[in-house]
Amino acid sequence: MTLPVPLSIRLRTALRDVHVTSQVDDVRFSSNSPGGYDACQIRLYRPLSFFPDEVAQFGRLYVYAPSGLVWEGRLQDPGRTAGDDGEVYDLAAVGGQAHLQDDTRMYYIIDADPTHWAKTDPSGTRAATVSQESDNTAAGDAALVLRIPQGTGVDGAIPSRVVAAHRGISEAGQKLARVAFSWDSGLTSASITAALYAGTYGVGAADIPWSATFNIAGGTVGRIVDPGAGSTSWSNGRNWPILRFHYTGALGSVSADSWWLEITNLFVKCMMFTKAGVEITDYSSATNLRYADNNVYADQVVEDLLGRMLTATIDGANATVSPTSYAIDHLAYPDGTTPLGVLDDMRQFESGFTWHVWESNPLNDKFSFEWIQWPTTVRYEADTIDGFSAPASGNTIFNRVAVRWVNRGVTHTTFRTRAVPVLDNLGLTRTAYIDLSNEASSSANAIRVGDQFLDEHQYPLNAGQLVIRRPILDILAGRMIQPYELRAGTLIRVRGVESYPDSLNPAGRDGLTVFKIASTSYSASDAAATLDLDTYSPSIARQLRAMRRRPPRR
């Protein structure tokens, strides 16, 4: 009786759909979390004199076991070699998660950075200025200030005016959903009118959802898109928010430095999509909070990514997107990002969550997606007898973190601390450094990210590995599974290491016997799955990938 590994390998292109199991000399495939199906390599023996129809960039590669699909992705590098091993196609395929890097674009969800506003309208008053005052208050709140300087000649017949606009939304191809701010002015005057315009860049007249004459009492404004709300709103499709004031009085000059309009707590929010790709337009619904607040939640952002950027490749309609709780008050990518970059940022806000791209839905050929909380129940049980390591370096423990963030034109650093006995008892302070750049950066966001980081780093992060070469129990499914069926993104209880009764009732990874499966890698040549526990084991390849993902500092 032989025990061949019962895997079957299928290649599919538009021209050919075949199983090639007997023509490959090995298969290795992996999954990771966050990520899902990661990579797969096979060596296919075919002559190089013609290109086989079943091999093509972005063709599909499937690996099946009797119990079902165990890996799926797209061919990326059909590398051809000729040498001592004959003529060989070294096929490298990547899981559906690779599609998260297909699209780099400007992306605005909610923008609280007044530096993204600039003076516009060349026909306006030349001497007028638009400036950002970074630390308008002791709390560091910034202001957008529109001003006609003292001594400037003004004429209501022109009229004299100063105009500031946010160009990014139109350049990103997005639409305006909400504008909110507080305002103040340097004088009270019925001859000077402040206003919010909602225009369409380069097209026709704008809607004017708010206007008021100058009053030193100021006020607070919040307006959302709503075609049915009349003059206090704007029609769906506007993409060019404008703040301005203009003079309606007689010819004269500005006699004092009081012709200014100060805008604080400025938020601009964009139209969003459901995960199924439908633009959210129930503006006036009493239960719809999507555009009613000056923040967004990570799950809303994830749904927007699915419905906006990934509709061609990811099955958003059937995706699992679990709700999150932290309200993000600034998320804008004026320098461009990818869905992967956004998801990386979302995990900084919600470190208890992860995401995966798994197999495709046969009904639409799109990859399945899930944004879920890390499970708190153990799924697998395994022993150490096939190989185990658990290096847990003190280098991963921190009791202080510095979060750099850039907003409103100023670089800030927010420090957060956490009681970590193993450091505190020795009088040690270890400070980690996180760079939020100017994209997901606000005071509140920095605090959240810092605290989430410290939550994850108060105990040493395991970077170990577990090798599995035999069937183990899948507790959730209630069945024994083979090593090639293991998936990342779950918890595993490892027997044979120090344990305690609570490990049978864990609330998550404990660093002793219950671990997160950060990645799995299966090789048919040695019939073994290697699991990275809690975090990726150190490797040059992973470091290079991390460096590639890291955005340049701005």
Binding site: P6, D17, H19, Y45, P66, E87, L473
Partner: protein, 482 residues
């Protein structure tokens, strides 16, 4: 005298390409040829944590046939050269597909032949007799596929009923005592008129059970035999559904549209404990919606009396055709299964309790449930998506088993026909074991394609299947009839 010949195929009527053991032909075996079985390749797992090694995977390597041939009856060095050239050409015959074997060596020591598929990469030696150049001796080592093959064996045709409650061959057929030493790929031929080419594309499932008593494999759990849960009642007989008497259940969602237990077993499934119940099963529910646009989601739960294990949630397609919906895998028994005790005796498993849950998220219609189908998938399970267009009603359809499953269409002359791409998911393909009963399970249509395009799965449909295989042998001496 034994027969050693290169021939054109593995067939009782194969054409001889070159005779290697015929004085008249000019080549004779000299000495004792070596037909030893192939070496085994093993993955060995060991550590200092456990005594002994494990072998989690193993597979035979290629066989190498070694023989020495004597040139005989050659009139000159020139005729000897011609004979050697013929040998060289057979040894290096080019395969159609690079990497494949390219020739067939027929060896008959007893009364029945055995065939070896040879690769065009032999090791050669030649001793030239200078005093008589026509009397040279060639030593050859030919790499071959691991096993010797017998001629094609067929069983059937079997008329497979698409009703798991049918009196005979209800979604299965049995292959009795296949020949050979070791397992071998199973090829299936589906006869014309079997409905392949249906609108919406048939999506067939093929699986196999080849241990214990395959006839005792649990296969179906009728809805009407289960305890009826919330808003669910047994309905009067319908010829559209499986089973006798009141043979299906309807869930109306009248009192609750949320996820409720609509059907469940009051005892374990199967009712009687059995060694043959052990295994992994892919469970499909045969269902029908009464309103196409309803959004209905179903799920299987299983386990102890509380049936706490959750299968995947499945949303039914937007049509009213009868269709199987895939509810995921269930292992019997649920949980740890060491299979044997310390004495090596197999432990009898009790089946799990089965609950069928359904919810209606939108709509007003009902859900009709016929049965739950348990397809064993701890050995082999593959799905074949047949073409929509059948060029000729007399075409037949082939499904090849083994490591590289394939499916294609043959015309009445046995020629392969170009078709719409046939897709195969799952695998590896079916293998059968010699000397025992192999039960092949065939679910004709477990996809949603025909339900969307037409009426869906037809309980009265039949499929005529002929099974064939080439028995495979380790040793070169082959029994006459097995």
């Amino acid at each position: 005298m034994s027969t050693w010949q290169f021939v054109d195929s593995i067939s009782g009527s194969a054409t001889v390409r070159l005779d290697l053991n015929s004085a008249a032909g000019g080549l004779m075996l000299a000495g004792e040829p070596d037909l030893s079985p192939p070496n085994m390749r093993r993955v060995v797992s060991s550590s200092m944590l456990i005594a002994g090694d494990r072998i989690p995977a193993s597979a035979f390597g290629n066989r190498t046939i070694k023989m020495t041939l004597q040139l005989l009856n050659q009139t000159s060095a020139d005729t000897a050269a011609t004979k050697l050239q013929a040998l060289a050409r057979e040894l290096t015959r080019m395969p159609v597909r690079p990497g494949d074997s390219s020739n067939v060596l027929r060896v008959m020591v007893g009364t029945t032949p055995m065939f070896f598929r040879t690769f065009p990469s032999p090791d050669l030696a030649y001793q030239l007799m200078l005093l008589n150049p026509s009397m040279g001796r060639a030593t050859i080592e030919i790499p071959c596929e691991p096993f010797g093959y017998g001629v094609k064996e067929t069983q059937g045709p079997f008329t497979v009923n698409n009703d798991p409650a049918a009196g005979s061959n209800g979604m299965f057929f049995d292959l009795t005592a296949p020949k050979g030493d070791v397992e071998t790929p199973l090829d299936l031929q589906f006869a014309n008129g079997s409905g392949f080419g249906a609108a919406g594309r048939l999506y067939s499932a093929l699986a196999i059970r080849r241990r214990g008593t395959p006839s005792a494999t649990p296969l179906v759990l009728q809805a009407e035999s289960m305890t009826q849960g919330t808003d669910t009642t047994v309905q009067a007989n319908s010829a559209l559904f499986s089973g006798a008497g009141s043979n299906w259940s309807r869930c109306t969602f009248t009192t609750a549209t949320s996820g409720q237990r609509r059907l469940y077993t009051a005892t374990t499934f199967p009712t009687s404990p059995s060694l043959d119940a052990r295994g992994l099963y892919r469970v499909f529910a045969r269902v029908r919606k009464t309103v196409a646009g309803d959004t209905i989601t179903v799920r299987l739960q299983y386990g102890d009396t509380n049936a706490v294990k959750l299968g995947p949630l499945k949303v039914l397609a937007l049509n009213t055709g009868i269709q199987y919906v895939d509810l995921g895998n269930v292992q019997i028994p649920v949980g740890y299964d060491p299979i044997t005790d310390r004495a090596g005796a197999e432990i009898t498993p009790l089946g799990p309790y089965i609950d069928f849950y359904a919810r209606r998220d939108a709509g007003s219609g009902s859900l009709d449930i016929d049965h739950l189908l348990f397809i064993p998938n701890d050995d082999r399970l593959e799905f074949i998506k047949w073409p929509t267009v059948q060029a000729s009603a007399s075409d037949t359809w082939m499904a090849l088993g083994g490591a590289e499953p394939a499916a294609y269409c043959l015309d009445t002359s046995g020629r392969i026909r170009s078709t719409e791409t046939i897709e195969i998911a799952g695998g590896p393909g079916l293998m059968i074991s010699p000397g025992i009963t192999n039960r092949v399970f065939f679910a004709r249509d477990v996809g949603a394609g025909t339900a969307a395009a037409a009426g869906g799965d037809v309980i009265t449909a039949t499929t005529v299947v002929t099974a064939s295989y080439h028995p495979r042998y380790l040793y070169p001496l082959k029994p006459v009839s097995t």
